[in-house]
Symmetry: none
Subunit: 298 residues, 5 copies
């Protein structure tokens, strides 16, 4: 499969509910041309208030909701507590991805699992257009992770709800094989998302392999664009969104975004890179990202 | 409450799922200005193929789906069988109101009840933005009707699904009190919809009272606009859509539509008046109805 | 839609289980060219042993199973009792349509309902490729019928099981509108099957309208081929099988079969016309019907 | 199928639990040669104490249980109340058929239905080797009957429990077609038992047809042996037991028994004919019936 | 039991659903002579994208589905995610074995368990003809494994679904007794599959015993054909398929296949050996394997 084919790879699911909801995310909101621009806000649970220090205003979830509406995002990703308290006046004005599981980062991640905090019926009740689910790929407790995921998947099937998977390599065994950021780990995560039936997968930028990675990855010599294309390909028909990670300056953000879209990603998940900026700056940067998306219709 | 207030009366529910879905119907699709333009197709079950005789092409449900998409309707109303077989390629391109109950008109309507054929979870699974429910107001078997409705309403509550009620006075007792079309019967139906928690109600045009109607309706001397305003008022915060009934000529259809919107209706349900015409004529008339709706932003 | 289009109308459902099972019926067994040839055996319950008088050997269900296998039928339709006791050695050698409901003909049909005797999970357990369901269209007790059907449909959805509907106009109200055999009644039944989500519908040959039929049917002047095409069209994407009814001579059977296939039917349901003949005669006639089906690939 | 073949027709079901329990009835208890000799005691509920007038001792269920054990019956058929109170010391010494449904004969039988009084799990708990179920074939309320039966059948399937069906033509519609005792009615009942998946069916002796019977039965001219063979054949693989009905003298009883077994029945159900006699007489007659059964190994 | 008897050992289960589905796999698809040729694709989850490096085209699941259809395989084995996304157009054209459990290989296998990701009802819904289940025989966590398996088995019983067991010796305790590949470990696995009610078992080629194996295996001196016959015998009436493992050259693959079939295996599971080749080469090799199967009708 060539990059060009990959780039046009969107195949909506046959199931009408999943299809209608994904259609809404891809064509009815956000850039509206088959690309995705998602504003995530799960960092308060995952990292604590730490991430709001650079921009205390962002500690009030209204900030992100306003940004999501005014910045015309494809969706905002929120956990159940924030959705219940803040979504009200914004319901219907920006699609919701209800993040179903999560945890704090206080214990270390050696045996990471991400427990379910809300269910697919909550997502339906709140009018969400997808659920978000974190899977710690390769965790020593992967059996618990996968069994929990299986129940979510079955509910999504029954209710026509798309699944956006946060596919994160994590845990002691991943560390022993080169760490969570290598192309080995990310590429495996991309394939796992596809094997498990995710509709969309959120991945981190794949780093170079290192000496601890298994072959054939250890010997792989590819630049970042090639690595990005590789993981997009490994995700198969699961649509890929890359996330921006920690805050960077405007040019770096736009550069990353461009690289990701050129590599065949369907979309972008930028959180801290946007809401750690003052509102107007965040909005301005969002507009430039929209311009980029406009050049990559899928 | 004055007409002007009535006209601006839209208050979206607080529950975020209902809110998001109604928002979509009112502002995200169709005229997009708080009015509703709904294309119904339940006549094949309710009346048999009879209604397709004037325009055989309309017997193929693809006709109505294309009309709904190209005519930018707020929603199409379909039963489960048609939705399952025909919605696929249109999913996400026009909102769906899944009609949950129905029956044939072969037995007479003396003891009419409308049995449930699909459930609210089917609506969720198919990505519907509302369910449609026929209530035969005043039927001798109203206890069965209301109990069945109660289960639907509870599911809608749990899943954040708006209810569009086809509130139809029907049955032997209604006939004995002047028939199903009088302002007495329709006005009662409007209030029942509000009492039972419908979010939107579809009503027929209220006719003059007759000698069989109970007082004070029997003595009521109001012209059609006044009767229309009366039933809109009786529906309270339940949004009213009037339906067009059997086919009429273009001028008559537009006249009715104008009367309904001026009376404070939120929307219009035109089925046979549109799809009993050839496609291009139906589309042309739809455009003129859009122009009318544009003048009645809610 | 022209006849030619109708004839090619097979659109397998998107749901993979329904699709796989229908594919098996249409292409993996029987004529194998997209047509259906079904051997029904529910007469013993519906009519009693009466139908076995002309050929007592047919009272032993082994007769029909051997005929179904040796005659390469697309499927045999059996109720749970016969399937449990006789299918064993034939399982996998001819597809099974498990008939889920039925009744005796001892009471009259004024208020006919057909109670559920087995469920969709029984069909799965027995390895059936479809369920058969009788719906008495227009019965005064249609509400019970439709509610019972709704549960069957939901299970079929959940388990990927196709539905073959025996859509039979029946009951006092049907009699008052011209009887169960008129084009009015059959045409309505065809549409009801489509509205209710049947995948395949078994219909009787539509007779001329009579004075008791409602308009526009009462005035309809169409020959049999036109009436057959009409009901095929009214069934939309629901595949139509016509049944042969009571026994006729070979030439008459083949004539009917040809008429049905030329009118756009997907298949034929011949029971008494085959198994009321001695085995070898039945087999010989089956072969001639195969030849006919071979000329009508869908 | 010839009589000889019919007579050897026993085919135990494949399901191991049903097979083990039927094997016990056919070969482990009673005559032990594939024939069945069943002692029924449901008359106290069905007819009231009337039937105990000729032999008041039989009003104490201990009488029948002792007779069943000492007379080496294949099984005793009891309702839940008698089984709970009297079975204790006899449990394991004679197989139990737990009769699941029943009713009084105080109202007339025009709309007869036989409600469930115990369930299949009761039968398991009591160690029964089969359940007994009365089906009123052709009752105007057959839909209720069949739905109730369907649940029993499903439980029997799940729990490996054989079903002995008391297949009784009954109700206004049966009366209108010649009454409950004609060969028309009994023959239909035999087939219904087979269609519904009964393992064993208890039938009454089929009487000559009369003018009210439908054709082809009305014109049937067959002697009793021929009629008996006919209904055995209509029951297919369902094993037939004929019941003796009201009390007769010894010679008449033995005559009936011989006729039944020669006609291909698997067994006999004699209640009043035995327990309306003093214990020792009953036992003596039982022994002569055993001798008869010994000549008809299946 | 002699080899010849073993080779003819196919006894289809009595339960009609299991029987019908296995009949389809054995006689309705693939070689069609009672042998099995299965194309597995669970390596993407079990090993990551590593296995697609030799033939990147195989990373697109369409490759394997086309190969399965054009190569006339008995079945393709897929997990739920791939089945949902890719099966659609192929449904009904090649039987599906839905693989129910799986895991990544990132953590080590000392305490291996394979969590359930989909259920038997998913398999029914997708129209699968069997489920695939990995059991890590001898894992320190075998209690969890077996309990999970027990639920799957019960559902298979209820729904008539055959079980294909991937019986893999695995875990610290297996390593301590000579490792996962010895005849000791494989022979035990074969018997476990039979004991647990698998219909078909997929085994690896049994290697020579080593000094860590328990007696009497430690002292066993058998060549490979003898070891293969031994494990086929240990599997009793569970049909055995041997899998080819990592890629080999054509001659070696055919050699292995011949050895396996001569030893009494019912079938072959070749994955990487086929889809790590370019499509046409894979198809050509498949054809030669078909020729081999043709010589070993069961």
């Amino acid at each position: 499969m060539k990059v060009n084919e990959m780039i046009r790879k969107i195949r909506l699911p046959d199931a009408p509910g999943k299809r209608a909801r994904l259609h809404r995310l891809l064509y009815g909101a956000g850039p509206g041309n088959g690309t995705l621009l998602v504003l995530p806000l799960d960092q308060g649970l995952e990292h604590g208030p730490t991430d709001f220090f650079p921009n205390p205003a962002a500690g009030d979830t209204d900030f992100q909701l306003r940004l999501a509406v005014e910045g015309r995002f494809s969706a905002i990703a929120l956990g159940i507590g924030l959705a219940e308290k803040y979504l009200g006046p914004y319901a219907g004005r920006v699609p919701l991805i209800l993040k179903l599981n999560g945890k704090t980062n206080i214990p270390d991640d050696g045996d990471a699992v991400s427990p379910l905090i809300a269910g697919v019926e909550d997502a339906v009740r709140l009018g969400a257009d997808a659920v978000g689910y974190t899977l710690y790929v390769g965790s020593p407790r992967q059996d618990e992770e996968l069994r929990q995921y299986a129940r979510v998947r079955a509910d999504c099937e029954r209710l026509g709800m798309p699944i956006v998977m946060w596919a994160y390599p994590r845990g002691r065994a991943v560390d022993a094989k080169g760490g969570k950021g290598t192309v080995y780990a990310i590429d495996y995560a991309a394939r796992v998302a596809e094997e498990l039936g995710a509709d969309v997968v959120k991945l981190h930028e794949p780093q170079e392999p290192n000496a601890a990675c298994p072959e054939p990855y250890r010997s792989l010599r590819e630049d970042l664009p090639a690595r990005l294309r590789r993981v997009v390909r490994s995700a198969g028909r699961t649509l890929v969104m890359f996330s921006g990670g920690a805050r960077d300056d405007d040019a770096a953000v736009l550069d990353k975004a461009r690289l990701y879209m050129e590599a065949g990603a369907t979309g972008l998940v930028f959180g801290r890179n946007l809401w750690q900026r003052p509102f107007e700056e965040a909005l301005a940067l969002t507009r430039r990202i929209h311009e980029l998306c406009a050049r990559h219709a899928r």
